[in-house]
Symmetry: C2
Subunit: 272 residues, 2 copies
């Protein structure tokens, strides 16, 4: 991380993302001056953690001497919030969403706009080391981009410039790697529970899978009955899944995809 | 781990599992006396690591004063190996397979039989701390079970008695948690590569997903567009996957399964 000029910042939203981002920016020496949230409890809980910040109940920041407003609200609320926001001319307004384009902020009158997206799941009760969290920045002009970059580098060691287009694909990749993986882990735990087996049994194997995937192309190190073409085991597994038709059809689709991939052979030549 | 009476052991197979298991048993003070493998190179490579062991070229162990033979060969070869094996009467013969039943060994003449299954993926080039690897044991009588258990406890801190039936379900659970997860990580890396994004971008998020799943029921902490019912994002993602029809249909199936699970609500009440 690198030091940067202290910035005067306000937050829209006091949820999980704002909670961690605002405190990390304050800890890095920036001046978080105001927090707006519709929920009084939420905004006051966050300003309670930020001695210099004021909780405000309308998203009007014109009376504050701000350089930047960070919008950290649910995706579905982002357009409405952007429309209601009032900032001094020339202020920089960014959102923190992985799935929403920069263009969504162009309706904010008189502001320069950007994206400041921390790529991690946050929950208030769990401390996060933001220094290790990738921060993705985007802007329409070089100067704004550099400002966002140096702000990001003041709290994280992993800062990337990523366009809205690439961020969309990244979000899709995250759905596969995290949301879908989480669902498979849920199915796996359910199956263990049905056999009265403790869930920690599979933990070392899961961790090894993740570690290996970080080092090599997962396609090149795929194991299991599907890639071996072991029809007996596949049939036996589908029989075990008779009471779970949706899981059985997932099993079939995933096995088919593994086999197609193995036949295309791209894992062997095209190492990531 | 606990100390146990030193055992006289031989191995059938000199692949990844035998490689790690034989060395761990020797290090724990057991006497690994012989290694059979069809491949001369493999059996001599392993006995080279085991000063007291002799490489042999037929699976006939009757001239050795053995208490136990551990078969560590690919599942597909297990039945043939068991049929060809010759041991002194009363010797204990075990296999190390996760997916094969104990019953498969009942054709070994004059032997007591069991299962000694280390639940981890092994590769010769990578050291493994067997102490942290779950070892699953099974036998037909109490005495054999206790022998296997004390042998397992001499090299691992995680020893479980698991029946063939439960082991089958465990293997199915491992396919979901590891083989299928690995495939999803491969898809995710391919999507990142297509957008010229580095694969390490998603690493912190993947690790957080795994950590959380170990602590809580994954169904109860599911995130993402499917569980939110965010049809706009689902449509946008399917459009991005137009060039990958198999991935698109996986995306649909996984989203459907997530939504069904959320509606059934079992994640909320039925914590694993």
């Amino acid at each position: 991380m690198t030091q940067t000029k202290k910035k005067r910042i306000a937050f829209v939203g006091a949820g999980n993302v704002a909670w961690h981002l605002a405190q990390a920016l304050a800890a890095a020496g920036h001046d978080v001056k105001a927090v707006y949230s519709r929920s009084r409890t939420s905004r006051e809980a966050l300003t309670g953690k930020l001695p210099q910040a004021q909780p405000i109940k309308t998203p009007d920041f014109r009376s504050f001497d701000l350089e930047m407003v960070i919008i950290a609200v649910p995706d579905a609320a982002l357009a409405d919030v952007a429309a209601a926001l009032k900032v001094s001319p020339g202020a920089l307004v960014v959102h923190t969403s992985g799935s929403q384009p920069l263009a969504l902020l162009q309706q904010v009158k008189g502001a320069r706009v950007g994206v400041f997206y921390p790529l991690q799941t946050f929950s208030k009760i769990k401390p996060v080391d933001l220094a290790q969290v990738p921060l993705l920045v985007e802007a329409l002009d070089e100067e704004t981009l550099h400002q966002l970059e140096s702000l990001a580098k003041s709290i994280s060691n992993q800062v990337y410039q990523v366009s809205s287009e690439a961020r969309k694909q990244l979000h899709l990749a995250a759905v596969f790697a995290c949301n879908f993986t989480n669902h498979l882990l849920g199915i796996s735990q359910q199956l263990l529970q049905e056999a009265n087996l403790p869930k920690q049994l599979l933990q070392p194997l899961i961790e090894e899978t993740i570690t290996k995937a970080a080092q090599q192309n997962p396609f090149a190190v795929q194991t299991g009955p599907a890639v071996r073409g072991d029809g007996n085991v596949l049939q036996a597994h589908l029989q075990l899944l008779e009471q779970h038709p949706t899981y059985a059809s997932l099993y079939r689709q995933l096995s088919k995809s593994i086999q197609e991939q193995a036949q295309s052979g791209s894992g062997k030549t095209d190492k990531v």
